[in-house]
Symmetry: C2
């Protein structure tokens, strides 16, 4: 027996039917012209969703964390300084990955549940003008907070510091404009608002980032996550073999992106906004309190502190066992007392909201 889940946690979200169906197609070799054609189409579709013309736009063979590490490993050399915005778990992860990679990390903090102040980030860059990169999580999956990254690019474009944006939960869920916002590097994940299963990490690098990578004086420490080699494999003709990428996951992401673009990027953003608001208006009536401050709430990911009557462990177990619904537990200070509810991609529907609310009402009543 295989459980059938409504996935309303922080990701994976329940994929689009098209994305699941695509998994059953015959496996193709990693150098098959037909497969590489699909990679080309995925790159085109990713450009449309990232809102960029960047040539180096491709799916890394790994999860969002692999995308994060690919960007940091490829763009930062050991000993260089990196400014990181930290107001949640994934800001911390950026620090951890950068630190392991040999970078000097300058933290710019804000309390969990609040947004980073772009002025603070820019001030930290001015205090560290030679910083290689400034990294911010656009949608902090641990708290449901939206960090405003739009003001950063135009300022950093006048410096030697690149702007790296974590769009793991943001991409395809809330407005993100890689080119218009002058974002130099951006990564995401297949299993959230893009509506495909996990396993691929879309990455895009702009001209300044590509130039930075080319001008390195030390080799990229990771072979597997070297974005230069991935570029030569996926987007260069003839392709230069690098690793045995999975056509299965590629076809699925291709289908998820197709479904998204058929609906329209702005229409998808509007749907996420509408569905998230529907949930966020209802939760307080059931006794939940929202973690993210008003005005900076993500619609696609809601962190909410449980009402007194609900025990986290018991309630999530019942939700899964009795209703087949997954929500995520809290992270950090919110572990054991908050939930993280994702309404992403195919799961961002009215039906998801009424299903979850109905199940929670049952839990509260018994």
């Amino acid at each position: 027996m295989h459980g059938d889940r409504l996935l309303l946690g922080p990701g994976p979200s329940t994929p689009y039917p098209e994305a699941l169906e695509a998994l059953t197609r015959p496996v193709l070799g990693h150098l098959d012209p037909e497969y590489l054609g699909v990679i080309g189409e995925i790159s085109d579709r990713l450009r449309a969703v990232f809102r960029t013309a960047n040539e180096l736009t491709l799916p890394v063979s790994g999860t969002g964390s692999a995308g994060m590490e690919a960007c940091l490993a490829s763009l930062v050399e050991p000993g260089e300084t990196v400014v990181v915005g930290v107001n949640g778990y994934f800001g911390e992860r950026l620090c951890e990955v950068a630190h392991r990679g040999g970078a000097r990390v300058v933290r710019v903090e804000a309390p969990w549940g609040t947004a980073l102040d772009p002025a603070d980030l820019l001030a930290a860059q001015r205090a560290n003008p030679h910083a290689a990169l400034l990294a911010v999580v656009a949608a902090e999956t641990s708290t449901g907070v939206r960090n405003d990254v739009a003001p950063l690019g135009p300022e950093l474009a006048r410096t030697d510091t690149l702007l790296l944006v974590d769009a793991v939960t943001a991409l395809g869920g809330t407005p993100l404009e890689v080119d218009a916002w002058q974002i130099d590097a951006c990564y995401s994940a297949s299993q959230k608002c893009l509506g495909a299963p996990p396993g691929l990490a879309p990455v895009t690098l702009g001209p300044r980032a590509v130039e930075r990578m080319r001008a390195r004086t030390t080799p990229i420490r990771s072979f597997y996550l070297d974005l230069g080699l991935l570029h030569e494999y996926f987007l260069t003709s003839p392709p230069k073999y690098h690793h045995t990428a999975s056509s299965t996951l590629a076809y699925s992401l291709h289908a998820g992106l197709g479904r998204l673009l058929e609906e329209g990027v702005e229409q998808v953003w509007a749907r996420h906004a509408r569905i998230g608001t529907m949930l966020q208006e209802a939760l307080p009536e059931l006794g939940f309190s929202l973690v993210a401050a008003e005005g900076v709430r993500l619609p696609q990911l809601t962190a909410a502190v449980l009402p007194g009557g609900l025990d986290d462990g018991v309630a999530r177990k019942r939700l899964l066992a009795e209703f087949g619904i997954e929500v995520g537990g809290g992270l950090g200070d919110f572990a054991g007392r908050a939930w993280r509810i994702g309404l992403m991609g195919h799961a961002a529907t009215e039906r998801s909201v009424v299903t979850l609310l109905g199940a929670v009402r049952e839990l509260l009543a018994s």
Copy 2:
């Protein structure tokens, strides 16, 4: 239209039907108890195939190259020495990954098409007694050569040098005994003799390797491929979140391993031996000459120089377009003049051999 391929290249191979079917199961969250139960079963199944009792046995979320990098990054500290056997492309890759990771690399070479001499490898270790690790590819996918790794473990067990074996093409195809041969660390890939699609890299670490990882004085440079963190996520209760692993790929590997174990590990080795021999006896009759020297030929991967009448590019294109058959091109000195033919997992059948030979006869005739 989606091409339907008989995959007879160096991998991916055509997966077992059970492994394809498993892809369609509903996606589960990466912390779902049902998913983690399946990971536990995958670990058990991998132990049976690796022939080990090693507790740290798990699927890394990446391809075989990610498994390689996970082992080297987790077990070697910058500045340490690594002895690497090099008689093909993947021995070179071991050098490359180790070098990027900051290791001092000592190469022990043999010509492509011949096997490494275990005595040479052990002599290099004696000359570098503080080497952290000695790494060898058991089945060199670039040439179809089997390197004899069995004599290495007992000797290295008396030293401080760990034995790392690349079993990407070997595992489930030819005899490999992690415990009996005293192999400290070993990695493979899902898409070759295990009969699942690409995307996961089985890894197993023995007690000496785990101890080495624990005793490190520097952090593992990679977060994504840190085998200590992966152990805490996959095999520790409660699981410590690390990344969003793909239940889709896990179910597929689980099914492929199930099919393999149903047949029996030794029976699968015997099947690969029988089918590979069938091909290798027939190829010379068609004018091919085998790259690997007699006595060290892998049955699951045959590299063969083309007869005069066949142009590599044209013939492989026709094979794919007219017959829907993929074989691999040559690597290194063999690029443009040899093929690499895989008969692995579900594709290791009499039917694959007669199909390929029939198609090649057609190509030679026209």
